[in-house]
């Protein structure tokens, strides 16, 4: 097992994207087609410029500030990152507010638990 080289690794990127829930299947399909081999998905609630509204439950008014979204987290090699971002953006876009955002972060190291492979080999 190789010891991970401790440099400011910019060969692995973490991509965090929030998208509208009904777009998940389409985005997953597009990403796996372009070669992405793994991702994590979480149901979240959030708001951005999409404003809230009020509802009534048993006569009491309340504000619905948060809208359900899906958060994707993918770790890909730096070479692939730009393409991944574009694919997600293109597939998830509906041109209505609430389409979401995509962030790219540097990953210091990555490791595959089963084999101990690191960085690019871990992806």
């Amino acid at each position: 097992m190789t010891v991970p080289r401790h440099r400011k690794g910019n060969n692995v990127k973490l991509i965090i994207a929030t998208i509208k829930p009904f777009k998940l299947e389409e985005v997953r399909e597009a990403l796996t087609t372009m070669g992405v081999r793994g991702m994590m998905v979480t149901e979240v609630k959030g708001f951005g410029s999409q404003s809230g509204h009020t509802e009534i439950y048993r006569g009491a008014e309340y504000a619905v500030n948060f809208v359900p979204k899906v958060k994707l987290e993918l770790v890909v090699s730096a070479a692939m990152a730009d393409d991944v971002v574009q694919t997600i953006a293109k597939t998830a876009r509906t041109e209505k507010i609430g389409d979401g955002k995509i962030f790219v972060l540097d990953v210091e190291s990555a490791l595959r638990v089963r084999t101990g492979e690191t960085n690019d080999d871990a992806l």
């Binding site: 509802e55 009534i56 439950y57 048993r58 006569g59 009491a60 008014e61 309340y62």
Partner: protein, 447 residues
């Protein structure tokens, strides 16, 4: 192989009934037992339908409380029902039905207190050495049927006080409610007591005797227990959404179904064509009232809030059922529907009204059972000429004062001695974790 040889011989033997048997015994029931048999059977069936309402209440409550408190509601309902069975057997039944043998009062001048601390005793097996009252039904079936009503009363209280009450103090209150409070006031009407004999009070299946009693006990509890943390904030009412609307709806339908036994069985006889026809009328009216209540709630919430509120529709159906419970026999189908509809309208306004008074009733039990129960009791005069407005009103007040005051005393004593409310951290953590150490919907299982 051997079986194939035996079978034809066995069949031949079975075809000869008298072969090898003792003398023939004529098993046809004597004519004079048929009424007893049918009425007894009716009580058993109606009784287990009312039993099924326990499942209904449980599911309704489970669906309307937040996820972190669901298992606690389930536990409370299992507990209260079982304790009601024991308390009613040990004390309640004979307290409620002294059969003229009053501790205080008489049948003629008014009965006030039935037989104290005397457990119910059923007939001997096979009616050995017993002469049954063939004009009525077995004691066993009467006890079974009435027990379910006592348990139903207790379950009403469970819903209103959810999400912040301690388990055992609540169950202790249940024992006192089903062993003493409920049977005493019920004896005043159904046990032949003074409300029945002196005031001509009419309450067919218990809009007052069961439902308003549950409602008063719940109201006393809600006032003494206090509202949930965060429910009323800065003059606003904060909604706490139910965790499982399918369960709440299922529970409502189950209650609706059980009510056919609740009202139908209260005819108390199924020994003649007239009686069984009355029961069929009661079933239909009961259903009509529930429908009226549900639709009324649907329409009113649509008009008031621009959107139908399912939880109000559920409450509306139940309020309709409570409304017709005092008199499900005499109204026409149309009248029953309207009586139920008024009940449905009442709850839609009563729920936010209670919130305005900062009385925190988690499932709307007080609007459904107390408010609609009072309406249903008064509505008897609309279709039954034997009822008087005065008689109904004074009985509502007497029962109300008795149950509310005694309940308030019991709740206060429990609060002062063992405490009835969980701590703030426990309430925020959720009763499931705090009192039971389990989750109703375990997520992220680590196995």
């Amino acid at each position: 192989m051997k079986l194939m040889k035996i079978l034809p011989v066995a069949a031949a033997l079975m075809a000869l009934p008298t072969l090898g048997l003792a003398q023939e015994v004529d098993m046809t029931p004597p004519n004079d037992e048929i009424g007893y048999i049918l009425t007894t059977f009716m009580f058993l069936v109606a009784g287990f339908l009312v039993f099924w309402m326990a499942a209904g209440f449980t599911m309704l409550e489970a669906g309307l409380v937040r996820q972190k408190n669901v298992a606690m509601q389930l536990t409370k309902n299992m507990g209260l029902f079982s304790l009601a069975a024991i308390a009613y057997y040990l004390i309640g039944y004979n307290l409620m039905y002294p059969l003229g043998d009053w501790t205080i009062g008489t049948d003629e001048t008014g009965g006030y207190l039935g037989i104290l601390f005397s457990p119910a005793v059923l007939e001997a097996v096979g009616l050995a050495d017993t002469t049954p009252d063939l004009t009525y039904a077995s004691v066993g079936s009467d006890f079974f049927f009435q027990l379910m009503f006592a348990a139903a009363t207790a379950s009403i209280v469970s819903g209103a006080l959810a999400e912040r009450i301690k388990l055992w103090p609540f169950l202790l209150f249940t024992v006192i409610l089903t062993g003493l409070i409920y049977p005493i006031q019920a004896s005043w009407k159904w046990g032949g007591g003074f409300l029945d004999s002196q005031f001509g009070f009419l309450d067919f299946a218990g809009s007052t005797v069961v439902h308003s009693v549950g409602g008063w006990a719940a109201l006393a509890g809600a006032l003494i227990l206090g509202p949930r943390i965060g429910k009323y904030k800065d003059g606003r009412v904060v909604p706490f959404m139910g965790s499982n609307l399918p369960l709440a709806t299922l529970g409502t339908f189950i209650l609706w179904m059980g009510w056919f036994g609740f009202n139908g069985g209260s005819q108390l006889y199924m020994d003649t064509a007239a009686n069984v026809t009355d029961i069929s009328r009661i079933f239909s009216n009961t259903n009509a009232a529930a429908s009226g209540g549900a639709i009324a709630a649907m329409i009113v919430t649509q008009l008031l809030y621009k959107k139908v509120d399912l939880t109000m529709v559920l409450n509306g159906a139940l309020a309709g059922l409570v409304s017709i419970t005092a008199e499900p026999l005499t109204p026409s189908l149309g009248a029953a529907t309207l009586i139920g509809a008024v009940g449905g309208i009442i709850v839609v306004f009563a729920v936010p009204f209670l919130d305005k008074l900062k009385v925190d009733d988690v499932v709307g039990a007080i609007p459904v059972h107390l408010f609609a129960g009072i309406w249903g009791t008064l509505a008897v005069v609309l279709t039954n000429p034997d009822a008087t407005l005065g008689g109904q009103l004074i009985s509502i007040i007497i029962v109300g004062v008795f149950v509310f005051v005694v309940s308030a005393i019991v709740w206060s004593i429990l609060k002062a001695t063992i405490g009835i409310r969980v701590s703030e951290e426990e309430e925020i953590m959720g009763l499931d974790m705090a009192e039971l150490g389990m989750e109703a919907y375990p997520e992220f299982a680590n196995r």
